[in-house]
């Protein structure tokens, strides 16, 4: 297994193949494509958070100078009965959030398109917007969708609660009765955006033969293909999607917004149509992650042993069902052995944009609640917060709250490493506070394909279909180099379009290095098998008599053959004589994704006169299974930590009374700037995943989970009382200090 491997390429830190083009400005992102005769598309967005559309009249816009096409919901199949995805792309009977797309135009210039938007006539019947979970879940609430019944149960009245979920184990009440101490907390975490730097952009061109090509920035071009086809009522095979380089996604680029509009308007005009979002559009109309309301309760014996725990979660879905309550419920107690538990989740509609995935979707919010409660428990027990977690930590064989039994996992190893980390053994700086929390994410497998092609000089091309959002091409090249036994520099990894490579599910779920990596390894093994066969043919031996060692075919020990080893280049050069070009391939539905656990701790200091929280140090310890490219694993850990800290301290959607987002820009939606952050210290733990050839778990999502509670717990440590809600923005913190009569 992986531990026994003598690794040469894996674990090194070579320069990423896309790095030079990115730092020199050569890399082409979503908005960089320009085609001859290209039109510019723009979207008319709803000025209301909730309204019925009485009439859309495009007549004047269509007649405007330079305008060649204008569309509304009527130009797409399904009408008022269209699916949620289609209705989110362009509204039909109702607009469900401020910024919801109502119509679009394509014109020869951007200025003409912008001017034409003003000529579109829309009559609205304005409805009360539903802007909070409390409002949405109250009896007699205004309904976002009048025909929605919880879990589809039409015997009950219509409700804003789209779905519920429940996990139960043991006897909760008996478990709490058994406890010496029970802690209960309640928390609200605001809606937050992924904050990727690159706004959504696409260009589409439809030809007379009914085929369309879409260029866009996405985490999954195969998904863009199927979703776009679905909204347009087209066949999947009629659409080709070419992914650009991507300027960040974090889960937010796993769906579609502009693509069907651009394709439809290209079909109508016969000309390419380019559409880009402004930053404001991105905030108002693309999927952030859920604002949440969570209650956590946990009981323990005096020695710290957990006896029972419960969690109640309500998540904002936005305008359509689909809040990540499943993962929120599955994560909340995943790190612990808890004999008795009840976990309940509610997926709740509100008049805000439809949520989309954001790095470990649903886990940061629910685990913020439970990790805060566990922190309070440690205080009441007077136990070190790491020791309390170690005492109850899940390990190999633990049955997760959501069912399966964990194989080898690295939570204990993370906790133990954190406990002895120099940042933890160092005293808390004068006046500051220290907070600890753990993080978890399942990681997923799903479908991937890869091809490996060998050029006549032995150059290796890896072709796969997982858009590279975090250095995955470097990882693929490293795994290919390791498997084939060739230098990293000999391998180039490429992300192919939907017609150049086999199907790959979206880059998400921390699956790419695990699942697509597994496909790359298998495709390389296919190459090795072919090389052994070609060598056997050359040497007049049986295939079974040939070995592949350090990038060369050699006779197996004991085989009597006086031959020189054949390198990949030797075999490739002579491939014409032994059966043709070397082409390896693999496709799979990867099983055995390994959960990645983390332990984070941070020292923060609150300016008690202004309420400002400064992060003095932050340490992230995480199990990667195997770090293929340690720099990019550390980069994931650091990036996730910064996003989590930003969410904990300042990031939030702020709405006015009419449901209009007030801070739709980076000035007032405050992601951290570099100078806000200390160096995020990292320590990679490697407990190999037994189901991956090199032990990979996937590392991209776990890093954002623990920081919310770690920061909250550190602020609690200094102030002596807990501020349960996020963000810990200066006005909230100062108000809390004033209510407590001063923090010192």
């Amino acid at each position: 297994m992986a531990e026994a491997l003598d690794l040469k390429a894996i674990g090194t830190r070579p320069v990423r193949p896309d790095g030079i083009d990115k730092v020199t400005g050569r890399a082409a992102f979503g908005a960089d494509l320009h085609l001859p005769n290209m039109l510019h598309g723009m979207v008319l967005r709803s000025p209301h958070a909730h309204a019925r559309i009485k009439r859309v009249d495009l007549t004047r816009a269509r007649a405007a100078e330079g305008v060649l096409a204008a569309v509304s919901g009527a130009d797409f199949p399904g009408g008022a009965g269209a699916g949620d995805l289609a209705k989110n792309v362009i509204a039909r009977d109702k607009v469900l959030y401020h910024g919801h797309a109502v119509a679009a135009v394509a014109a020869k210039t951007l200025l003409q398109a912008e001017a034409a938007l003003d000529l579109i006539e829309v009559d609205y019947e304005v409805l009360d917007p539903v802007m909070s979970l409390d409002e949405a879940m109250a009896d007699g609430a205004t309904l976002v969708n009048e025909s929605q019944h919880t879990n589809g149960d039409t015997s009950k009245p219509a409700s804003n609660i789209a779905a519920t979920q429940r996990f139960e184990r043991g006897d909760l009440e008996a478990g709490f009765a058994e406890a010496d101490i029970v802690v209960e907390t309640e928390h609200r975490v605001p809606m937050a955006h992924q904050g990727y730097i690159e706004p959504h952009a696409c260009t589409a061109t439809a030809n007379e033969d009914g085929k369309a090509t879409v260029w866009c920035c996405t985490q999954g071009h195969f998904d863009v293909r199927s979703l776009t086809a679905q909204v347009l009522g087209e066949k999947v095979g009629n659409i080709k999607v070419i992914p650009s380089e991507i300027g960040g996604g974090f889960g937010g680029k796993t769906t579609i917004y502009l693509e069907p509009l651009a394709v439809r308007m290209s079909q109508m005009t016969g000309r390419p149509v380019k559409m880009t979002m402004s930053r404001e559009d991105v905030f108002r109309a693309t999927g952030p992650t859920s604002g949440t309301w969570c209650r956590a309760k946990i009981g323990a014996k005096k020695d710290g042993t957990f006896t029972a725990a419960s969690a109640w979660l309500a998540y904002e879905a936005g305008a359509f069902p689909g809040a990540p309550i499943g993962p929120g419920c599955m994560s909340v107690l995943a790190p612990y052995e808890v004999p008795n538990l009840v976990i309940e989740g509610n997926d709740v509609l509100v008049n805000k944009p439809k949520v989309c995935a954001y790095r470990a979707p649903g886990a940061p919010q629910s685990m913020h609640a439970m990790e805060s409660a566990i922190d309070e428990l440690a205080r009441q027990l007077d136990m070190d917060p790491i020791d309390l977690r170690l005492k109850n930590s899940a390990a190999e064989g633990t049955v997760a709250p959501y069912g399966p039994r964990f194989p080898a996992i690295g939570l204990r190893e993370c906790l133990e490493a954190a406990k002895v980390h120099p940042n933890y053994t160092a005293p808390v700086p004068e006046g500051a506070g220290r907070g600890v929390a753990v993080g978890f994410w399942f990681n997923i497998g799903m479908q991937s394909s890869a091809e490996v092609r060998i050029a006549e000089d032995g150059a290796v091309t890896v072709m796969e279909g997982s858009p590279d959002i975090g250095g995955s091409r470097a990882s693929m090249a490293l795994m290919a180099a390791e498997t084939l036994g060739v230098p990293y520099e000999q391998v180039k990894a490429h992300v192919g379009d939907t017609e150049s490579t086999g199907f790959c599910n979206v880059t998400g779920g921390s699956r790419t290095t695990f699942a697509t990596g597994m496909a790359v390894v298998q495709a390389c093994e296919d190459i090795i098998a072919q090389c052994k066969q070609r060598a056997a043919l050359t040497w007049d031996l049986d295939e079974e008599q040939v070995d592949w060692v350090d990038g060369e075919a050699v006779p197996k020990p004991g085989v009597n053959a006086d031959v020189k080893p054949l390198s990949l280049a030797d075999i490739a050069r002579g491939a014409g004589r032994t059966g043709g070009p070397l082409l390896g391939r693999a496709s799979l539905n990867a099983q055995g994704a390994g959960a990645s656990f983390s332990c984070n701790f941070t020292d923060t200091i609150v300016d008690t006169e202004t309420g400002k929280v400064d992060v003095l140090s932050f340490t992230a310890v995480q199990d990667a299974g195997r770090a293929i490219h340690p720099s990019y694993v550390e980069g994931q850990m650091q990036g996730g930590a910064v996003q989590g800290i930003g969410w904990a301290l300042n990031e939030e959607y702020i709405y006015d009374d009419n449901g209009v987002m007030e801070n739709a820009g980076f000035l007032d939606y405050r992601v951290p700037v570099a100078s806000d952050m200390p160096m995020i210290d990292t320590e990679i733990i490697e407990v190999p995943n037994p189901f991956h050839p090199y032990g990979v778990r996937g590392v991209g999502e776990t890093p954002i989970v623990a920081p919310l509670a770690a920061v909250s717990n550190a602020v609690r440590d200094q102030l002596g009382f807990r501020i349960p809600d996020l963000p810990l923005s200066p006005p909230r913190v100062l108000e809390a200090i004033d209510e407590q009569g001063g923090g010192d």
Partner: protein, 292 residues
Amino acid sequence: MGAYAYQAPASVEEALSTLAAEAAAGNRAQMLAGGTDVMVQMRSIDKGPRTFVDVKHVAEANELHIGDDEVFIGAGIASAVLNENDELKSILPGLIESADLIGSTQIQGRATIGGNLCNSSPAGDTIPALIACGAVCVIASPGGNREVPTEDFVTGVGTNVLEPTEFLIGLKIPRPKGRSSDAYLRFIPRTEMDIAVCGAGVALTLDDSGVCTAAKVAIGAVAITALVVPDAAAALVGTTVDDEALSAAADASSALAKPITDKRGTVEYRRKVVGVLTKRAGAIARDRALAL
């Protein structure tokens, strides 16, 4: 977005006649310095047609003069030039740090104090600092130059005393004498690249025994324009600027503040923190003066 024109007059005279000609033709003229506000506004808020009149080529507006009695900073001088001028930083540290707080290094290569003042935002960082150190606006006007104290320049959110045919040439600042110094602090939730939730500028003079003989305090982002706080200054004069005096100055700033609640802070928050900033800026200005 509409039609735009650009003019780059080389002198005050030429600039005034350009403004007059545009006004006569019924065109909207907009003075342009670094463009760090104007360009953003043109792309997002107000896309209407206009003629830009670039102050960066007007000779008089590009002078930086540090005299024995007076400092002159032309309206076209980029912040980066000020930030790198050690003499200026030593005599007007508060004013220069207010300019250094605005934008990134790249932005500071274009941004100007004059532009910050003429943009006339309630949250403009240099405005309280300019008021505190007694800066006077030198305005080119068809009838000849006129001078307006900075506290009288801004009249409302985004508005000021300039007529369409006038423009700001630069700022005249009395050179601090003896043990005089200044400081400016603003509060933002981040460390940089942000907009003031509130701000406070303090300039003061100490005598040989460390007693404050003169002070001026101005606060920003807590009313529609920056405010002079006479009671805060009065609380400092005659004291050694000790904790008690600073605390009284803080209370005076909090009392005078007329903030609003918005996405950046509440009334209560701004009122309280502008006092904290007054106190802290006062202590910094005192320590700087004592070190002279």
